[in-house]
Structure formats: structure tokens, C-alpha cells
């Protein structure tokens, strides 16, 4: 129980820990149309099915769909950083930051294979409270096996 108490809160509800304390991204799968959502849902926005949604642990790897490099953000946010939309390998789509790549359009490729990595970081409006969150990092050749 004491371990439980020291765990940092998730930055978003879909960032979760399993029974072993290992972080993962939680999603929902529609068993009617197979669309996969980030986070919990009860009704499918795509096929409108009700009671067809099942919990789904999102893939840990994917590819970069599109990106932008943020040079101007809200006060207190360090810039530049790379904002990406990633197509996860299970078909889910998710936004995040890409790290481990220079924030330079010449250095970023559409379709770049990436993996999900978890960190504890403090939001700008709660600088003393680290939260569990995730980033995307370039996928090294041997990462794919380990992440499954």
C-alpha cells in the first residue's frame, strides 16, 4: 500500500498502470466495426453501436502520420518541441510529443517508426506534482520485439 501511495497521478485518464505497476495506454475497441479509440467509451462514434465496446490495451509502437514543430506555446512551456499524430500499429490514432529527433523539418520523416515511452513530468500549472505521461521516440531496429 505504501508503494501505491507514492505513485504519481496520470496526466490523462487513459495513461494507466497494470497490476504490476507497468504503465500502458488504455483504449477501447468496438467489436462491431473494429475501430479502436484512445480512452474509455461506451458508444461507437463510427458505427453508433451500443454495448459493443471492450477495453483494449493500445499498441506500444506505430508510425508518424503528421507533425508540426511548436515554436510558440503558452507561457512557461519550453519550445521548440515536436507535436505529432501517430498511427499506432493496432489502428488507433494518438497525439503526443516526439523526442529524440531534432526539431527541424529536414530531420523529421512522415512514416517514421516510433515507440511509446513513459515518463513522470510536471505540468506547467502544477510544477511540484509530477504526472505519469508518455512521449514517442524513434523505434530502434530491435525495439519492436521487446515492446510486445
Amino acid at each position: 500500500m505504501s508503494d501505491q501511495k507514492t505513485l504519481s497521478p496520470p496526466l490523462k485518464p487513459f495513461v494507466k498502470r497494470d497490476d504490476q505497476g507497468k504503465p500502458y495506454l488504455a483504449g477501447t475497441k468496438c467489436t462491431s466495426c473494429n475501430h479502436i479509440y484512445v480512452g474509455e467509451r461506451t458508444i461507437c462514434a463510427n458505427c453508433y453501436a451500443r454495448d459493443k465496446m471492450t477495453p483494449h490495451r493500445l499498441a506500444q509502437t506505430g508510425t508518424l502520420y503528421v507533425y508540426t514543430i511548436i515554436h510558440r506555446s503558452f507561457p512557461g512551456i519550453n519550445t521548440p518541441f515536436i507535436d505529432v499524430i501517430v498511427d499506432l500499429d493496432d489502428g488507433a490514432h494518438i497525439k503526443g510529443c516526439l523526442e529524440g529527433v531534432a526539431p527541424d523539418p529536414e530531420q523529421i520523416e512522415f512514416g517514421l517508426p516510433v515507440k511509446v515511452a513513459f515518463y513522470e513530468r510536471a505540468p506547467v500549472n502544477m510544477p511540484d506534482t509530477p504526472h505519469l505521461t508518455y512521449v514517442f521516440e524513434p523505434l530502434a531496429p530491435n525495439d519492436k520485439d521487446q515492446s510486445q
Binding site: P9, L11, K12, Y37, V38, A45, N46, Y65, V66, Y67, T68, I69, I70, H71, R72, S73, F74, I77, N78, T79, F81, D83, V84, I85, V86, D87, H93, I94, K95, G96, C97, P105, F110, R121, P123, V124, N125, M126, T129, H131, T133, Y134, V135
Partner: protein
């Protein structure tokens, strides 16, 4: 159902008026629109008032408090960047439905400077899980176009060069300064590929229109400058594959565009000018295709060939657009209708699109995790 006509329409020059109130800004354009058709507030049977920043503030009633409390029904409307156009469409529907003959629509906004976006409660994810700023959202949309078609930084920037040039001919624009390509490219980078000069300007402003039934238009003898509303369409975001990660402004625009062309019984080739939602240079690029001004993948060529500048095949945003005229959220939708109406009346001066008979206006807005509101109107000289 009666056809609906605009007989009075006007806007204030967009700018920054921190000492004014929202209702007083609305009142100014309301009076201008009434004067444009020689009618009085006593003649209005209903008011539809669009405003986002004070959506709970009964702006329409407070405006009537300044110019005449006639006791008419007032509906206050908030619908993201489609707010003004939604108020206009509500006014149009009330006449279409046969409820009223003479109705006013007003759109108004008072804005601070700076970035829009974010605003969720709880811990901020800004900079940790990407960015929730408007520039981030609309830059991603441009990058999606670049991914599909190889669209370049220069091509996006040329949209801003064009719209800033257009605004030098519009006395009601916030900015009226040419920005050559190197200046646009070299401006502060906000979110790749949008530099500061490729982001719309947050300003204060208002615009208003007086709409009437065909019978009323003839009764009043206002045919000469009347503008016929050939189509009024709205849409929200239909399901799109990536919408949970990146808001989709294209699908909603395509739905509304298809329905608007059908309602008017015309095609994009019949349109002489377009005022579309250039909240960012990247947005104007994708909307060329969404509004079927060109085929998918040809938007970059359209700007390269100068087809969307004044004098081109299909001039877009000759007012200066949101990029230079400014973007007071709730006013933008009616200001676009004012611009097209002014050309159809052949009263646009130096920026007049010669021989304009029919024009299209488009606004679309929304936010991360929210959804999209789109409105399209097709207007014709009566």
C-alpha cells in the same frame, strides 16, 4: 417557401477597441446595416445575435438596450468560428419557415491578443502531450496536405502574401500592408509551417445583416441592391478516422459544400468569388479542395498559378481574409457575407471582382476534442 434576400449589410472596420463593450460594437454594425437599407430597428421582427466570448451574457438583448428595446424575440448563438454564420442562417431559416418577413442577424466579438487554444481544467498537457494551440491544429492539417501532395512552405506562404495584398484595397481591414514572400517566410515561426504572418489576426469587430422575404423586398422596393441567398448549409464533423487525435475540418466542409451546391443548383464553376475560412494559411490551402475550387491535390498549383488572387479565375479572400482583415470569431461569418454581397452589388472599389454574379462564403471552427461547426452560403445578385 419564400426566397430570402439580404437588403442591408455592413461591418465596422476590424481593429482593437479594448475600451468598448461587446454590445456597443454589435450596435454599431446593426445601425450601419439598418442605414444600408433605410429601415429602422422598429421594422425588425426578430434578432439573432452571434457571440462567443460572452456566450452566457445575453449580448443581443444588451445591444437592443443600446439601440431600441422593441420587445422582439432575441436568440443568442455560440458556435465556434461559425457563430456569426449560424446567427445568419437562423435568421434565414425563420423567414424560410414563414414566421417572419424582416429579421436582423448580428455577429460580434471582442478579443485579447495572443494564442488561442488550451483551456481545459486539471493538469495542463501542453508541451507534454503535444500542443492544444490553434496553430498546432491547423499546422497539422497543412502537414497532412504536404504528406499527401508534397505541398511546400513557399506555397503555404504565398496564400498569406496574396491575402495581405488584397487587404491593401479594403478600408475595413485591420491591416493594410503588403507582405512580400521573404517577409512571410522570415517572420517568427509559430508552428511549422505557419509563421506569424500566416496566422489570422485576433481583433475586435462586428457585422450585421437585414434579411427579408421576397414579398417584403418587393414591398419595400429594395430590389436594386438586394442579394439573394441561394443556399444556406451547415454541418458538424462526420466521423473521421483520426478525429480523436486531430480535429477534422475537411470532412465537415465537404458535406456542407456538396449540400450547398445542390441547394443552389450550381457548381463551383458558377462561383465568381469565395470568402473562405483562412484562419491559417494552411487552412486556405486545404479548403480550395474541400470547396471543389480545384481537384484534390491541385491546391498548390492553384496558388502557384495565381488563380485565387484578384484578377484570377476564382479570387479567394479579396477582403484580405482572416489573415489580414482579422478574425473576430463571432463576427467573421457575417463579415464574409458582407464582402461577397459588396462585390455582387459592384461596390467593392479597387478590389472589385469584375462582373461578379455569384459568390460563396465559408466558415469552419472547432477545437481539440470538441468537434467542428461549418457554415456555407451561396449568394447571388438579385
Amino acid at each position: 417557401m419564400s426566397d430570402v434576400y439580404i437588403v442591408g449589410i455592413d461591418m465596422i472596420r476590424f481593429g482593437r477597441f479594448p475600451d468598448r463593450t461587446v454590445p456597443s460594437l454589435a450596435a454599431e454594425s446593426a445601425l450601419l446595416a439598418l442605414d444600408d437599407c433605410g429601415l429602422s430597428i422598429k421594422d425588425m421582427q426578430a434578432l439573432y445575435c452571434g457571440n462567443l466570448g460572452q456566450a452566457a451574457g445575453m449580448v443581443g438583448q444588451r445591444m437592443l438596450g443600446e439601440i431600441g428595446q422593441t420587445g422582439i424575440p432575441v436568440t443568442n448563438v455560440a458556435n465556434a468560428c461559425a457563430t456569426g454564420a449560424t446567427a445568419f442562417r437562423d435568421a434565414w431559416m425563420s423567414i424560410k419557415a414563414g414566421i417572419y418577413d424582416t429579421v436582423m442577424a448580428v455577429g460580434v466579438e471582442q478579443m485579447g491578443k495572443g494564442l488561442l487554444g488550451g483551456g481545459n481544467r486539471g493538469p495542463s498537457s501542453e508541451g507534454l502531450i503535444g500542443s492544444g494551440t490553434m496553430p498546432a491544429m491547423f499546422s497539422q492539417i497543412g502537414m497532412e496536405h504536404a504528406r499527401r501532395y508534397g505541398t511546400t512552405f513557399d506555397q503555404f506562404a504565398r496564400i498569406s502574401v496574396k491575402n495581405h495584398w488584397h487587404s491593401t484595397m479594403n478600408a475595413k481591414s485591420m491591416y493594410r500592408k503588403e507582405t512580400p514572400l521573404d517577409e512571410v517566410l522570415g517572420a517568427e515561426m509559430i508552428a511549422w509551417p505557419n509563421t506569424k504572418l500566416m496566422c489570422s489576426v485576433n481583433v475586435d469587430g462586428s457585422a450585421a445583416a437585414v434579411l427579408v422575404s421576397e414579398k417584403k423586398m418587393k414591398q419595400l422596393g429594395l430590389q436594386d441592391r438586394a442579394i439573394k441567398v441561394r443556399a444556406s448549409e451547415m454541418s458538424s464533423n462526420p466521423f473521421a478516422e483520426r478525429e480523436m487525435a486531430m480535429p477534422d475540418f475537411s470532412a465537415a466542409t465537404r458535406v456542407a459544400a456538396k449540400n450547398a451546391y445542390e441547394q443552389a443548383g450550381v457548381g463551383p464553376e458558377d462561383i465568381n468569388l469565395v470568402e473562405l475560412h483562412d484562419c491559417f494559411a494552411t487552412a486556405e490551402m486545404v479548403h480550395y479542395e474541400n470547396l471543389a475550387l480545384c481537384k484534390d491535390g491541385e491546391a498548390g498549383k492553384l496558388i502557384d498559378d495565381g488563380e485565387t488572387q484578384l484578377g484570377g479565375r476564382i479570387p479567394v479572400n479579396v477582403s484580405g481574409g482572416l489573415l489580414s482583415k482579422g478574425h473576430p470569431l463571432g463576427a467573421t461569418g457575417i463579415a464574409n457575407i458582407y464582402e461577397v454581397s459588396t462585390h455582387l452589388r459592384a461596390e467593392a472599389g479597387d478590389r472589385q471582382v469584375q462582373g461578379a454574379r455569384m459568390g460563396l462564403t465559408h466558415v469552419v471552427g472547432g477545437g481539440p476534442g470538441m468537434g467542428t461547426a461549418c457554415a456555407i452560403h451561396i449568394l447571388e445578385k438579385a
